[in-house]
C-alpha cells in the first residue's frame, strides 16, 4: 500500500467538473495552498475542474488560495460559516452579482455535519440555529423539553488537506491549530488528497500521536516548506 503520489497534478486528477470539494483550513492555518494553486493552474490551462462546490469555514481572503479559485471562476457554490475576511473581495463581488451561491452553516454545525458524513450518521439534532433563519425548513424536535433542529450529514467527492507528517499508509499529523476541519474532512470525502510537509516511514509517527488514521486518506504528495496563506497575504501576494 503506497498512497504517495509524485506530483500534485497526478494526485489531483481525481478532481472533476461539478464536484464537491472540502478544503481544510481555518483562515490561513491549514489551507493547502500549493494544492489549491495546482488546481487553479489546471483550470486556467484546461478549463477543468469547474462548477465546483467548495466547503470551507471561510470563503477566501485576498487573491490566493480559495480566493484564487473564485477569481478564476471555478467555484459555483460555497458552503461555509463565515464568508468574511480581511479582504473578502473575491467572494463578495461574485456573491452580490449573483454569480456564486452561498450555503451558510453555523460553524459547529458545519463541523458536526462533516463528521456525521464521515461517521455514517445521516442526521442529528443540534440546539444551534433553533428559531433563526438558518433553521427555516428544517425538521425540529423536542428532547427533554428543549427544541432542536435536525441537520443532515455533509459529504464530498474530494477533500484537499494540508498535513504536517504523513506516511505511505496515510497516517497524518497536523501542525498546531492547522488541524481544525481537516481530520473531519478526511473522513467525509470519497477521495482525500493530502499535501504533507514531510513524508516519514510507517512507524515514524507514534501510533498514539496519529491524528488522522490512514484509512481516511487516499493520496499524499510531499510539499516541503509549504506556503502559509496568512503569511502570503501579509507579503501582499496576488
Amino acid at each position: 500500500m503506497n498512497k504517495i503520489y509524485p506530483t500534485l497534478e497526478n494526485a489531483l486528477d481525481a478532481v472533476d467538473d461539478g464536484m464537491s470539494v472540502m478544503i481544510g483550513g481555518f483562515g490561513g492555518a491549514g489551507a493547502p495552498i500549493e494544492t489549491i494553486h495546482a488546481l487553479v493552474e489546471r483550470y486556467k490551462r484546461t478549463g477543468s475542474p469547474g462548477r465546483l462546490t467548495v466547503i470551507n469555514n471561510n470563503a477566501g481572503n485576498g487573491a490566493v488560495g480559495i480566493a484564487a479559485m473564485i477569481y478564476a471562476g471555478m467555484v459555483a457554490r460555497m458552503v461555509c460559516s463565515f464568508p468574511r475576511s480581511s479582504d473578502p473581495k473575491a467572494f463578495t463581488d461574485k456573491y452580490l452579482a449573483g454569480e456564486i451561491e452561498l450555503e451558510l452553516v453555523p460553524q459547529g454545525t458545519l463541523a458536526e455535519r462533516i463528521r456525521a458524513g464521515g461517521a455514517g450518521i445521516p442526521a442529528f439534532y443540534t440546539p444551534s440555529s433553533f428559531g433563526t433563519q438558518i433553521a427555516e425548513g428544517k425538521p425540529v424536535a423536542e428532547f427533554e423539553g428543549r427544541p432542536y433542529v435536525q441537520e443532515r450529514w455533509l459529504k464530498a467527492d474530494v477533500a484537499l488537506i494540508k498535513a504536517d507528517l504523513a506516511d505511505r499508509k496515510g497516517n497524518l499529523t497536523y501542525r498546531k491549530a492547522a488541524r481544525n476541519f481537516s481530520p473531519l474532512m478526511a473522513m467525509a470525502a470519497k477521495t482525500t488528497i493530502v499535501q504533507a510537509s514531510r513524508v516519514v516511514e510507517p512507524g515514524g509517527i507514534d501510533p498514539e500521536h496519529v491524528v488522522t488514521p490512514g484509512i481516511f486518506v487516499d493520496r499524499i504528495v510531499e510539499v516541503a516548506n509549504p506556503q502559509q496563506e496568512e503569511a502570503l497575504l501579509r507579503e501582499g501576494a496576488k
Binding site: 481555518f26 483562515g27 492555518a29 460559516s81 460553524q107 444551534s128 433563526t132 491549530a177 492547522a178 503569511a231
Partner: protein
C-alpha cells in the same frame, strides 16, 4: 462623573465576574478585550472554536506563527497545559455545556434573552461563524455592548427586529450604562451608573426594566 462607560470599561466590568477556574470563550472583536482585564489571581482558561484550549496573549509583532491563531484569525501564544483538537471536538466543548461563560457582542438583546448579533438584514454578505453554537451550551452567555446604537436606538428591546442568533440564550448584559440580567423573560437591573437615574435608563431601553432587591452602583476605574 462617568456618564457612559468606554468599551474598555465595559470589558473591564464583565471581566470582574469571570469565575476562578472558568472555561471561557470570548467572541471575535470587542469581547476579546475582556481577557485584558481578568482580575489577578483568577485562573481562566480560554477556548477558541478553531481548536485551542488555554491560549495566551498575542506574540510580539514579527513573532507570529500563523498556524497558531484564534477564531478572529489573530496570532496567539500557548500557556503551559494548552491543547489542540479538531473542530468537531471544539464544538463538542461548546454545545456539550463544557464552557462556563461565552461573551458576545450584540446588535439587539430581547427581554426573553433572544440575541441578534450576526446579520443586519438583506444587502450584505451574511456570516454567522460560531455564534449560533456559542449561545447554546455555555452555562452563562454574556453580552457586552453599548446601551444604545450609534443612532441612539435601544439595543435592549422587547423583541429583536434583526435576524436572531439564538432564542432565550442571553443570561446577562453588560452595557455602557448598566449591568442587566435576563430572568424569567424580564430585564432585571443589577447595577447602573450613579450618574443616571432609573427613569433615564428606562428611557433609553426598549423594554421594561425590572429591579431586584437592590441596584448596585456600576463602578469602573478610569482605563
Amino acid at each position: 462623573m462617568t456618564t457612559k462607560l468606554t468599551n474598555a470599561q465595559i470589558a473591564w466590568r464583565a471581566a470582574q465576574d469571570l469565575p476562578d477556574a472558568a472555561y471561557v470563550n470570548l467572541g471575535i472583536g470587542f469581547p476579546e478585550m475582556v481577557a485584558k482585564f481578568k482580575p489577578k489571581g483568577r485562573e481562566v482558561t480560554y477556548h477558541t472554536e478553531n481548536g485551542i484550549l488555554d491560549f495566551g496573549e498575542a506574540p510580539p509583532a514579527g513573532e507570529e506563527d500563523w498556524d497558531l491563531i484564534n477564531a478572529g484569525k489573530k496570532a496567539v501564544t500557548l500557556n503551559p497545559g494548552a491543547s489542540f483538537f479538531h473542530h468537531a471536538d471544539s464544538f463538542a466543548m461548546v454545545r456539550g455545556g463544557h464552557l462556563d461563560v461565552a461573551v458576545l457582542g450584540a446588535y439587539q438583546v430581547a427581554e426573553s434573552g433572544d440575541l441578534a448579533n450576526w446579520s443586519t438584514g438583506p444587502g450584505s454578505v451574511p456570516a454567522v461563524g460560531g455564534a449560533m453554537d456559542l449561545v447554546h451550551g455555555a452555562k452563562q452567555v454574556w453580552v457586552i455592548t453599548d446601551h444604545v446604537t450609534k443612532k441612539g436606538e435601544p439595543k435592549l428591546v422587547e423583541s429583536c427586529t434583526l435576524p436572531l442568533t439564538g432564542v432565550g440564550c442571553v443570561t446577562r448584559v453588560y452595557t455602557s450604562l448598566a449591568v442587566v440580567d435576563v430572568v424569567d423573560k424580564r430585564f432585571v437591573v443589577r447595577e447602573k451608573l450613579a450618574s443616571i437615574s432609573l427613569d433615564d435608563l428606562q428611557a433609553v431601553t426598549g423594554a421594561k426594566l425590572a429591579v431586584g432587591d437592590t441596584i448596585g452602583e456600576l463602578n469602573v476605574p478610569e482605563i
